[in-house]
Symmetry: C2
Subunit: 285 residues, 2 copies
């Protein structure tokens, strides 16, 4: 695995690979890799001749009161994990390499952002879409891999690729979970022991809601019951527990082909998110 | 020359050309081609193996009170001219092909837009940057060609390519002029005979200003005198006559490597723009 810090160098190396007709799978991350990220690398490894992973904690997608400074970082460990998982290139630029002093252009996201995390993180998805526009142009991948834990991010990236006509196939990869069901996240390391113990109930609540809906309970009733369960079992603050169409993220109607039930819980130093995606059954509604 | 209306078809054809290692020169236009556009095609023809011209009157870059409907169109004539000038592909999509019902993402331009045309056309360059982001991703050119008549547009495109890391070389091509000096524009056809006759003084004023600055007159004094000349010779309204650094479009300082003096004049149905670019001489200031 080759580690590259400079945009020009990565472009030169990947242009050479592409000239030789190779397909490129791209896994953009903010580092502090866990098994979820590694599953993205594995998926990219299976479907492409070259695998590129980027590690860049993107300041543009953090709000002024968010955890940019506290976001965990461990590049030596990440290098070893990415190498072992089978990446060919690790792109690890500095903030100065990625952004000039003042941005001249950014991406503005107009849809799929007024619910879930977008509601409480104004500008977050503009920052995500801007850095991905840059990374897509730097890497020029055949396929790009994103974890479905950030399901709203996957929905926004789908809009970005579609509206800006990026010649890239988006691949959303299933959530990886701890044995007790907690969705893997780089941020889990910032939970206290007590928070970590009770956080299991977030996924439990979501699984209960999914099961109820699959069994014919209306989404409204299932989510209300799930909310009661969650409130009774955790001390963290429920930022949201919501059901929406997916990937449009609009109110659910009987014609929505797919829905998402998503939760965000705020703990002392960490905000956790999780979700389940539910296919529309003829019987529902 | 092959005429293509569909994004997917153009992408398929150009991917094939690129697989064969061919370089692609791209000339994005709004059609109603004149010798200025043809000079862009000629420049692209010289430097690339494949030349793509697009014709798309982009609604996103017209304000609600601007001339989107009146913008001249003549696709049959354009086809003949583009073919004769040596283009290989003419991309001519509908508005529906380029934009969905509601855009999910657009480009926001933060710099180089608060002066000259940007000042009186809010959102114009956001529309330009958005359609170019799409076209760049659809065509994937090696080089993109723009006329320096829209010098602010060239400055914005330079920012777009730089900030979004498009792997594209920007080529700015000199202004083409009528024999009397009037800058060629698709909009000139909408001038009355009297307006057309007096419009010659726009470029005359700019040439006088350039000559004065080259001869050591300060930009401020030269522009003031040019403004007096212009006001004495035209009935159209001077929207602006301004000197700025180029391509930054900031107030001129003695360290500005290059400056632009640009003018916009509003006539009954048309707004004309023109400019001269002046290299900093040791002697100036």
């Amino acid at each position: 695995m080759k580690i590259v810090n400079r945009i020009d160098e990565l472009r030169r190396l990947l242009t050479e690979e592409k000239t030789n007709g190779k397909t490129i799978g791209f896994v953009p991350t903010m580092g502090y890799l866990h098994a979820g990220h590694l599953s993205l690398i594995h998926a990219a490894r299976k479907e492409n001749e070259i695998v590129v992973i980027s590690i860049f904690v993107n300041p543009l997608q953090f709000g002024p009161n968010e955890d940019f400074d506290q976001y965990p970082r461990d590049i030596e460990r990440d290098e070893a994990l990415a190498r072992e998982a089978g990446a060919d290139y690790l792109f690890y630029p500095t903030v100065a390499e990625m952004y000039g002093e003042q941005p001249m252009v950014t991406v503005k996201v107009h849809q799929r952002t007024d619910s879930l995390c977008g509601k409480s993180r104004p500008g977050h998805f503009d920052g995500v879409a801007t850095v991905l526009t840059k990374l897509f142009n730097i890497v020029g991948p055949t396929r790009a891999y994103f974890g479905l834990k950030d399901a709203q991010q996957v929905a926004v990236v789908e809009g970005l690729i579609q509206d800006f006509n990026f010649p890239i196939k988006l691949v959303g990869v299933e959530i990886k979970r701890e044995e007790d069901g907690l969705a893997l996240s780089s941020r889990n390391v910032n939970l206290t022991a007590d928070e970590r113990a009770e956080a299991v109930h977030i996924s439990k609540a979501l699984f209960k809601i999914k099961e109820a809906i699959d069994n014919g309970v209306t989404p409204e009733a299932a989510i209300a019951e799930g909310r009661g369960y969650l409130q009774g079992h955790i001390t963290g603050t429920i930022d949201y527990l919501e059901g929406l169409s997916y990937p449009e993220l609009k109110p659910i109607t009987s014609v929505s082909a797919k829905m998402i039930v998503a939760a965000a819980v705020q703990y002392s130093k960490v905000r956790l998110i999780d979700n389940v995606i539910i296919s529309n059954e003829e019987s529902r509604g």
